[in-house]
């Protein structure tokens, strides 16, 4: 088990290094005028040019620049935006909102998705099964840029059940609609995966053995089928985090939630290079760490892969 963890940590370090290098290279490598690139389309004065050159070590070779960047990143110094605001500060403000939103979305996804998938998997071909299957198919195909504005329109504006925007300090209630929207695609995929997993496991040999032992249906399903069916679902949570992160950018924008996603979007639209790179790097770290956690949980659930 320990060896497994160490191996995964090493993999993670390699992937982290590779991913951040990729991001950094994409932003800064081989540019004719890196300062202009940093500033986007805004004109740059000579004074600003000097400051930026010094701050970003632009007079040094690329790899050295990357070295500085990594060192800063690892010590928690995310640098400052083009306007001079420390990125770390912006992040500290934005993260809690996004974390609340994402966790809430994940919670809904697991709650509705797994429950629906379990029932559908056990009752394949029933009305419930076919209708939820159709519904999840539509949801999976519905891009979040469509779902978010329309949900806001229907449930916020027209029906008035939820606030249309979340505001500066969003309450939990204000986050429910955005969380449902954000988690919709995950709910759908989780439901389908649980359904397929359950349907497959219900016919598995070890379930047949459990029945042969004369165990009650409730126990056979609740203990044997569920336990083995949930294993792939757990890995899906890891994959879904990436989709959640991406979806958060859109959701926070539409519902006006001051989180990581909307700040990132703002940075993109104002062409604030350092902010974009800084935020994306952090998101990469979060993504990798959560994937690692998911893998660990997976190893805990499935003893066969603990080598």
């Amino acid at each position: 088990m320990v060896r497994f963890v160490i191996r995964r940590l090493l993999q993670m370090v390699v992937t982290f290094a590779g991913a951040t290098f990729l991001v950094y290279a994409l932003m800064f490598a081989n540019q004719n005028d890196p300062i202009q690139a940093l500033a986007g389309e805004r004109p740059v004065s000579d004074a600003v040019r000097e400051v930026l050159t010094e701050r970003y070590h632009l007079d040094e070779p690329f790899l050295v620049q990357y070295g500085y960047y990594m060192r800063d990143l690892l010590t928690g110094d995310f640098g400052t935006t083009l306007n001079g605001r420390p990125i770390g500060e912006i992040m500290a403000d934005a993260w809690p909102n996004t974390v609340k939103l994402a966790l809430l979305a994940l919670f809904f996804a697991v709650l509705f998705g797994v429950a629906a998938g379990l029932v559908a998997g056990l009752r394949r071909g029933s009305v419930f099964d076919t209708s939820t299957l159709a519904l999840t198919l539509v949801v999976v195909g519905l891009p979040i840029i469509v779902l978010a504005p329309i949900a806001q329109l229907i449930f916020g504006v027209k029906l008035g059940w939820f606030p249309t925007t979340a505001g500066a300090r969003p309450s939990l209630y204000g986050l429910i609609l955005p969380a449902l929207v954000l988690g919709a695609a995950s709910t759908a995929t989780m439901m389908r995966l649980t359904r397929a997993s359950v349907a497959e496991n219900v016919r598995a040999d070890h379930v047949r053995t459990a029945r042969a032992k004369g165990l009650s249906s409730r126990r056979v399903v609740g203990v044997h089928v569920l336990r083995t069916s949930l294993i792939p679902v757990v890995t899906l949570i890891g994959v879904d985090l990436g989709t959640l992160m991406a979806g958060a950018i859109v959701t926070e924008g539409v519902f006006n939630i001051p989180g990581v996603g909307s700040k990132l979007l703002l940075g993109i639209q104002t062409e604030d290079g350092p902010l974009v790179v800084g935020f994306v790097s952090v998101l990469v770290v979060v993504f990798l760490v959560s994937n690692l956690l998911v893998d660990l949980v997976y190893a805990l659930l499935d003893p066969r892969i603990r080598l």
Binding site: Q11, V14, T15, F16, G18, A19, L22, V23, L26, M27, A37, G40, L137, V138, V140, G141, L142, P143, I144, I145, V146, P149, I150, Q152, L153, V157, E200, R203, A204, D205, R208, G242, T243, M245, A246, I249, V250, G253, V254, L264, L265, I268, Q269, E271, V276, V277, V280, L283, V284, F287, L288
Partner: protein, 308 residues
């Protein structure tokens, strides 16, 4: 499960031997086509796909209005004449814009999927067939690309490409999607190749002196193709959705290109004044994405022996 399998399995192969009646012998592809033909989802999805492709290739078939003939005096006007969805913020015919918007989406989707397909095929095939250090190296590359969620990487890359080039950005978006979206296809191809490689017919071919390329092309590829095509079909849907999202966020296509993403973004801002400009591109985008995903799903289900 094994017993039902035995009983059912005995039905098929035994039928081809002694007993003439009782069961037609079927190949996997023939079985899959049989299932596919009777699946109404397959037909609906295919019809939608044909419709969208037609719309992309020949928009004139659907609307005679000019999407760029915008008159601000008609801002937010309701449906009139051939403008089934009214007029948007700039006074453009929403329906005409939506119909013409299909071209960008389909073009981007198809080109990006082709690029993804080539990269994924190469990676998956090489990693799966040769294994060893090549596999390890390629898997690490996959990990790195996967380490950044698609949209984030697309945003960063798009910004970079946009800084370097002008124009409506179709090429950039295609490159972005193609370079970042091949990982699932590669993994699927790799596992198919791994499974096929250990089969006896590959060993037989090798024994007869076939070189690795021939084996890969003639023996492994045909068997690994079905799940790969399924992934590509679904990826097409995902790409169309991602392109729309990138355009929505202002990092994908931009004017003068007509994209559903752009239209949704502008319409979303003015949704209290008029809902129709939001509805049309949303509807078309959703149906298109759904069509490809459904198609891929239907094909996958048809080929899946576990669902018999």
């Amino acid at each position: 499960m094994s017993d039902l399998g035995t009983a059912a399995a005995e039905v098929a192969p035994a039928a081809t031997e002694a007993a003439p009646a009782g069961g037609r012998s079927r190949s996997l592809a023939a079985d899959a086509w049989y299932d596919l033909r009777r699946n109404w989802i397959f037909w609906v999805a295919s019809a939608l796909v044909v419709l969208v492709v037609l719309m992309a290739a020949a928009p004139a078939l659907f609307t005679s209005a000019d999407p760029t003939a915008c008159d601000t005096r008609r801002q937010f006007a309701g449906p009139a004449g051939g403008a089934f969805f009214g007029y948007d913020f700039q006074g453009c015919d929403v329906f005409a814009r939506t119909v013409h918007g299909a071209r960008a989406s389909v073009l981007v989707g198809v080109l990006a999927v082709l690029l993804t397909g080539v990269i994924g095929l190469a990676f998956g095939m090489l990693a799966g067939y040769f294994g060893g250090w090549l596999d390890a190296l390629l898997s690490r590359i996959v990990d790195v690309v996967l380490g950044i969620p698609l949209l984030l990487a697309a945003i960063v890359l798009s910004k970079r490409l946009a800084a370097d080039s002008q124009g409506s950005g179709i090429a950039s978006v295609v490159i972005v999607l193609g370079l970042l979206g091949w990982t699932t296809a590669a993994r699927v191809m790799r596992s198919s190749v791994l499974a096929a490689r250990s089969q006896d017919y590959v060993a037989a071919a090798r024994m007869l002196g076939a070189g690795p390329w021939r084996i890969m092309w003639r023996h492994i590829l045909p068997n690994a193709l079905a799940p790969f095509v399924v992934v590509l079909t679904i990826t097409l849907g995902t790409f169309i959705a991602t392109e729309a999202t990138l355009s929505f966020l202002n990092v994908g296509l931009r004017a003068p290109a007509i994209s559903w993403g752009i239209d949704i973004a502008t319409a979303g801002k003015h949704v209290r004044e008029a809902a129709l400009p939001l509805v049309a591109p949303s509807l078309f985008l959703t149906l298109t994405v759904l069509a490809f995903i459904m198609l891929g799903d239907a094909i996958r289900d048809a080929f899946d022996p576990k669902l018999r």
